[in-house]
């Protein structure tokens, strides 16, 4: 049996804004095993980033607040830790890389200074040792001429190199869990391929788990072992990668997979894409009970909107929240 590293239960994170309450994450359950890559997919605004920030306890308060739930990491509930202890976990045990590397690197410090700072904070190394380790980290993420690059500023690096620096910084204290929030979305495909290769290589080398947030089912297929599908601030399906592609159960997951053009089928006859009708739900204000996918679902029945469909285990490791099952 795989050992659980992180266990999220009943997580609710709301933003209390002037225009009303935004239920950004509304009752989310999932777990991550040691050493595995868990993919999280979902439409824009479905609560993926807020879930990640909740785990890191980096939700801007106010307006945001984790209103319910538990997040157990190695047996401890992160939501009950005093801030000083949480700071020790953040960066050392769990670290995070963001979609836009430029916004998370400080433009006035060299990349070496920034990595060394993170190392000094957590490992108590001296200035010189930390700088030497920073060079090692740049080498680990395959940045050429690491000794020279370490003295450069973020704007002197390309987008792909900045994302490598972010990964290097995130890994500098050997975390057991890396949360990667759309780490390649802003990058070109050839650079994306380099970064995903790097993440896979480092995961094997360092034995860490990765929580990979993406909207790209191709990235999921090539990097994750398990998948959580989010829709409207909730988890609607969870399965192994093999099953989610072979036998998706939730109508949203099914629709999503049918709506993506397939480059690998270029040789076969072209078919029209099957689009999911309608628009992505808003999470602001009052949310009526019932399945949030109902307005777009071709299987919807009256009972779908009567109450939230509970998430059910269909078989080992495959769960779905839909009244059809």
């Amino acid at each position: 049996m795989a050992e659980r590293l992180l266990d999220v239960k009943g997580l609710k994170t709301y933003f209390f804004t002037d225009e009303g309450v935004v239920r950004a994450v509304d009752g989310v359950d999932f777990y991550i095993n040691k050493g595995e890559t868990l993919g999280i997919v979902g439409e824009s605004g479905s609560g993926k980033s807020v879930t990640a920030l909740s785990i890191m306890r980096l939700i801007p308060t106010p307006p945001g607040r984790i209103v319910e739930g538990t997040i157990h990491y190695s047996g401890r509930n992160l939501l009950e830790l005093p801030p000083a202890q949480m700071r020790k976990i953040r960066g050392k045990e769990i670290s995070m890389i963001f979609q836009e590397p430029m916004t998370s690197l400080n433009p006035v410090f060299t990349v070496g200074e920034q990595i060394a700072e993170a190392i000094r904070l957590h490992e108590g190394l001296g200035r010189r040792d930390a700088m030497a380790k920073a060079v090692d980290m740049l080498k680990l993420v395959h940045i050429p001429n690491a000794e020279r690059r370490v003295k450069e500023y973020p704007h002197q690096l390309s987008g792909g190199m900045r994302q490598r620096v972010m990964i290097g910084m995130a890994l500098s204290c050997n975390p057991k869990l890396l949360i990667a929030d759309e780490p390649t979305t802003a990058l070109d495909v050839t650079i994306q391929a380099q970064i995903l290769e790097l993440l896979n290589e480092l995961k094997a080398k360092l034995g860490m788990a990765i929580m990979l947030i993406t909207h790209d089912m191709g990235v999921i297929a090539e990097t994750a072992q398990r998948v959580v599908v989010m829709y409207g601030a909730q988890v609607v399906e969870e399965a192994s990668v093999g099953e989610i592609f072979k036998e998706p159960l939730h109508p949203y997951t099914q629709g999503l997979l049918r709506s993506i053009p397939r480059i690998d089928l270029a040789a076969t006859k072209k078919q029209k894409l099957e689009a999911i009708p309608g628009t992505v739900p808003t999470l602001r204000g009052d949310i009526r009970p019932g399945c949030r996918f109902a307005p777009r679902c071709s299987f919807a029945k009256p009972q779908c909107t009567a109450a939230d469909p509970p998430i059910k285990d269909i078989r080992t490791g495959h769960r779905v929240a839909c009244i059809l099952y």
Binding site: S259, I260, T279
Partner: protein, 328 residues
Amino acid sequence: MPEPLLRVRNLKKYFPIRGGLLSREVARVHAVDDVSFDLQPGETLGLVGESGCGKSTTGRTILRLIEPTSGEVWFQDKNVTTLDKRSLRSLRKEMQIIFQDPYASLNPRMTIGSIIGEALVIHKLAPTRRAREERVAQLLETVGLLPDHLRRYPHEFSGGQRQRIGIARALAVSPKLIIADEPVSALDVSIQAQIINLLEDLQAKFGLTYLFIAHDLSVVEHISTRVAVMYLGKIVEIAPAKELYTNPKHPYTEALLSAVPIPDPTTKRKRILLEGDVPSPINPPSGCRFHTRCALRVPSCSDNEQTLKEVAPGHWVACQVRTGVATK
């Protein structure tokens, strides 16, 4: 073969970089560097390539939203590059553009009705207010929105709906050619498919010709009749879509295609990982611009400029090794 609708010949756009006290030109960005292609009526030509390779600049110089440095663009029998302002404006009835960002491209203070109706006024296509409103309502229906949306403002619509508004605006003047610059890149996957289907339906209904610019190779494969691949301001390969995707010849096209993640965990492919990043378009590499990253390069690749050569009917490649001109 019918007469092409659009002919682009040796199109170049160099952006000056100014510096120093006198703001003199100190360097040039070779954004588009000798691009030529034809567009046949009713076809969709996909234009792909990595960020900064010159796709948008190509689209915009064709419409003269950006003035070209040199080269010619012919729309049927009109030389677009030499038209005066007035003739250019009337040509905009024939050629329209849809932008990537449905948020930024709609004026937030205008109603949907006036956004879509604006071009009708400019080109005097609707004599009365009533005629204009009728036409706008009809256009809204064509793109899958409700006619009574015309009194609403852009912020009341979702991303996909705003892109529909952008499409209705382009359609208002009944153009023959639409340049779509990343029209679905900002949209969710499930909404992307709606817009792609809409564009396909409109093409069938109105016989539209598309220049479809995108960096998503799967989307381009799906919608295009032919595809051109750009690298650092140049087209390195152009071919019918199926041919290009199943039988790529340029080493860059091969690498690009192999980098696309496939949404099927049971397929295993060989990935060609490219070394390093795209070089700067300010001082692009000499000879073949891809030689700094190419696994097939031979010594003469850094000297010889590459031009497109036909390797199969309609399949053109700019690589001396792959076209058999130079060997190891």
